[in-house]
């Protein structure tokens, strides 16, 4: 058994675990599913690790594998997401009754992101992570032009959710 590989992997993941936590925040709504997704990401990363040859940075590789895991898992669980959508719509109505303070506005934004589909969430996530379009396109395996077009559509979608 390759103890060195294991140690290397866990150390790398420990240093970059924020990436996985942030993806979990975008894709899940409660602590339990956050933990589930985090574990699934860890397992998928570990499974793919022997193929990671260090051509790119660990974090770059991790963005790709972790996002793929989240997207795949999200597709499997579409049913449960639908019920969450109802909750967040409900939540949105409630928050709108409050003053439109900056914090409320941020909440609305996060809420709107939760209603996006799996790929759109990935786009927003990478955008929030301050990735440029070259990096976004590489991570998601699409062309740069496509990434730009998609990102613009997502922005419109978000705007429409917030101001219907």
């Amino acid at each position: 058994m390759n103890k060195d590989l294991e140690h290397q992997f866990v150390t790398n993941l420990e240093q970059n675990q924020n990436i996985a936590h942030k993806i979990c925040r975008i894709y899940t709504n409660d602590q339990e599913s956050h933990n589930d997704l985090f574990q699934e990401i860890t397992i998928q990363l570990w499974k793919a690790y022997p193929k990671f040859r260090g051509d790119s940075k660990f974090s770059t590789w991790m963005y790709r594998v972790a996002l793929n895991t989240a997207i795949t898992l999200y597709r499997k669980k579409k049913k449960s997401i639908r019920t969450q959508d109802y909750d967040s719509v409900h939540f949105k109505i409630k928050t709108e009754a409050y003053d439109d303070t900056a914090e409320q506005h941020l909440k609305l934004m996060y809420d709107a992101i939760k209603q996006l589909n799996d790929i759109d969430k990935a786009l927003v996530f990478l955008y929030l992570e301050d990735k440029n379009y070259a990096e976004i396109s590489e991570t998601l395996g699409i062309t740069e032009v496509n990434a730009r077009v998609k990102m613009n559509r997502v922005k419109t979608k978000l705007q429409n959710i917030i101001n219907p």
């Binding site: 420990e14 675990q17 860890t42 506005h105 941020l106 996060y110 929030l128 978000l158």
Partner: protein
């Protein structure tokens, strides 16, 4: 779009408040998936035992026992209950031990061994359920039949079977037994089979990593 950029700022701020896992916690996560499957095997065995016990209590009222008394089945039933409960408890204990063992492991080789053990235990358990169901069915039949023969001869000899009727009777009984065992087998392979298949997949993945 300033909306998203506002969010970006907040996103960066919140980065500091993200909870961090330690090296050991992450290390354990790599091996944790099998543990939750084995935990479910343990829980299902308990639920199943509880369901069986509740069902027994509901079915076995005074009328039931009176009827069994009539067939001379009381002693046989009590012995069967005690023995099957003891064996079921043994299996639940085994499932629990497996769960504990898999939970404490952070070593792939030991984990693989435990997974194999879990699969074996579940297979034995399903075997036990099938054999005991068949056993109870056949013995109940024999007891009822003996009772029937004993009381029938007293009343009238017309109640006795000729060889054709016997053949039909035994054939029918065996068919019923086969159907019952088939259904039980189906239910168990469905409930535990899904979990076992997942465990097997984990096992294969571990094996790949080992090589």
């Amino acid at each position: 779009m300033d909306n998203l950029d506002l969010l970006k700022k907040d996103w960066k701020k919140q980065e500091k408040s993200i909870p961090q896992l330690s090296y050991d916690q992450i290390y354990k996560l790599i091996w944790k998936r099998s543990s939750s499957i084995v935990k479910w095997i343990f829980f299902i065995s308990i639920i199943e035992f509880g369901l069986g016990a509740v069902l027994n209590i509901f079915i076995a009222d005074d009328e039931y026992w009176a009827k069994m008394e009539e067939y001379n089945l009381t002693l046989f039933l009590i012995v069967t209950y005690v023995v099957s409960y003891l064996i079921t408890f043994y299996f639940i204990y085994k499932f629990y031990k497996n769960y504990k063992a898999i939970n404490a492991t952070d070593n792939a080789a030991v984990l693989m061994k435990t997974i194999l053990k879990v699969r074996k235990t579940v297979k034995y358990y399903i075997g036990f359920i099938l054999i005991s169901s068949g056993f109870v069915f056949i013995f109940s039949m024999i007891f009822i039949l003996r009772n029937h023969v004993l009381s029938a001869e007293e009343v009238t000899s017309d109640m006795s079977f000729d060889w054709k009727q016997w053949l039909l009777f035994i054939g029918g009984t065996l068919l019923a037994l086969a159907v019952i065992l088939g259904v039980i087998w189906l239910i168990y392979t469905l409930v535990y089979g899904i979990l076992l298949r997942r465990l097997h997949r984990n096992y294969k993945e571990l094996k790949k990593l080992e090589m």
